[in-house]
């Protein structure tokens, strides 16, 4: 089943064209990886899927992005869109409040105030983010006092707490050590049963390890989009091959 259908998407930052005629179909319950050199538009495309680019002054788009057949740039509630399409940032950004309040922030925003219900959501979300055991005894402590890897998993839990359908992850492990990274990779693989996941990564091995499909970007264009296996074992475009073999640039 297709989750996102992106057709002829152009995106401008002022006069600069950051995405050029992007066409992509993202499958539900799969992990899709975006790879490509720095500045090629991976984050830009990711942000246009939950309209975080609305926050950037002078950002304008042409083309279509359909989520379950519905145009997300049409007449929709952006806050509900972002509830359905969650996001995890490159740099862990837990709010400067308690661990509990971090996870409960989203549900509270969307109108859940019952303590019993919140307790339940906080526990399930932390469990799903594989961090419950590490944090259960200090839920009332500040979220800034835990390690970077734990913070990132807390941010994943926070995103899961609003029960999204899609998770967008922009280089979620680039600021982390190898052990935290492998924990988060395991976590992502588990989450794919219930969520559609799109991940931006600079780490080829990571893309190979966890993703089902991979899109290779260059200068604002999608050069090649295929199963991860095909992209890495027999790419059809020369640019893709140069990039994955490290001959790029």
């Amino acid at each position: 089943m297709e989750k996102f259908k992106i057709t002829d998407l152009d995106l401008y930052y002022g006069t600069f064209k950051a995405l050029i005629k992007v066409n992509l179909t993202i499958e539900a319950n799969q992990i899709t990886a975006f790879i490509g050199p720095s500045g090629c538009g991976k984050s830009t495309l990711l942000k246009s899927l939950n309209r975080m680019n609305d926050l950037i002054e002078g950002c304008r788009i042409d083309g279509n992005v359909l989520l379950d057949g519905e145009d997300i740039y049409g007449n929709i509630d952006v806050n509900l869109l972002r509830k359905r399409v969650g996001m995890v940032f490159q740099k862990p950004n837990p709010f400067p409040m308690s661990i509990y309040d971090n996870v409960a922030y989203g549900p509270r925003t969307h109108g859940i105030h019952s303590k019993i219900k919140l307790d339940e959501i906080v526990e399930t979300s932390l469990r799903n983010a594989a961090i419950w055991d590490e944090l259960k005894d200090r839920l009332k402590k500040s979220a800034l006092g835990i390690s970077g890897g734990q913070q990132q998993r807390l941010c994943i839990a926070r995103a899961l707490a609003v029960q999204p359908e899609v998770l967008l992850m922009d280089e979620p492990t680039s600021a982390l050590d190898p052990i935290s990274t492998s924990k988060i990779e395991d976590l992502i693989s588990e989450l794919k049963e219930r969520y559609t996941i799109i991940i931006v990564t600079h780490n080829m091995q990571q893309a190979v390890r966890i993703s089902d499909k991979t899109a290779f970007f260059l200068l604002g264009q999608v050069i090649e989009y295929d199963t991860t296996e095909n992209i890495f074992s027999n790419p059809r475009q020369k640019e893709t091959e140069d990039y994955i073999t490290g001959r790029f640039g």
């Binding site: 509900l80 972002r82 940032f89 709010f95 400067p96 922030y105 925003t109 926070r158 995103a159």
Partner: protein, 282 residues
Amino acid sequence: MLKKKEQFMRLIFLFSACTSIIAVFLICIFLFANGIPAMSKIGVFNFLLGKNWKPSNALFGILPMILGSIYVTAGAILIGVPIGVLTAMYLSLFCPKKLYRLIKPAIELLAGIPSVVYGFFGLVVLVPFIRNYIGGNGSVMLTASILLGMMILPTIINVSESAIRAVPSNYYEGGRALGASHERSAFFVILPAAKSGVFASIVLGVGRAIGETMAVIMVAGNQARMPKGLLKGVRTLTANIVIEMGYAADLHREALIATAVVLFIFILIINLSFSLLNRKSI
């Protein structure tokens, strides 16, 4: 040659840095040398907790003035903090650029107005207003609190605004990415993240309010008796000193200096809590 010049400049810097330290040090010596003996002559207990200030009868209790200062300041905080913090929120997160260019200079101007001018405004506008529409003779605690509330606005707004602006944008983005509206992210993510800076602004406001003299004297009534209510006159510590300094002699004069010592300790505590707050925010 260059080295000599460098050394010379270094000396000048050192000297400049020392001036302020020396100034504080001299003030301390002056205050304590004159104030402490008076306190012991009057009796620390009688001085700090005495309810009567009647220099002609050799009664030197400054409790009325201590309470007066605290009440007036608390009133100013009650009025100034909500308005100030909300203004800071508006300026940093909601205000259109064009309007900002109008409001910001107005606030800077507010900060630069001499306190005697505030005092005149209070005397000519606030005092009659309170007398005619609320009660009392107008020169009352409420008037002083309102006026001081206005005077601490620039401090609270400016310090809070920079605290709010200093909150990393990734908190805000995190809030928005969870589907929170701009308003909700502003009040439930950014404001809590800026809270130590906002508290610091309040502490600075308290410092300004408690030390303010001229404007308060002009509107507070200045009766040296225990504060009796919002619509009765009060005298603050600062007012006590200024009003009687001109003609006081001997123990009376020393008692006024001892009053300044109390004020000084108040300010010391406020500054200490300010730097504690600042340390916490790092």
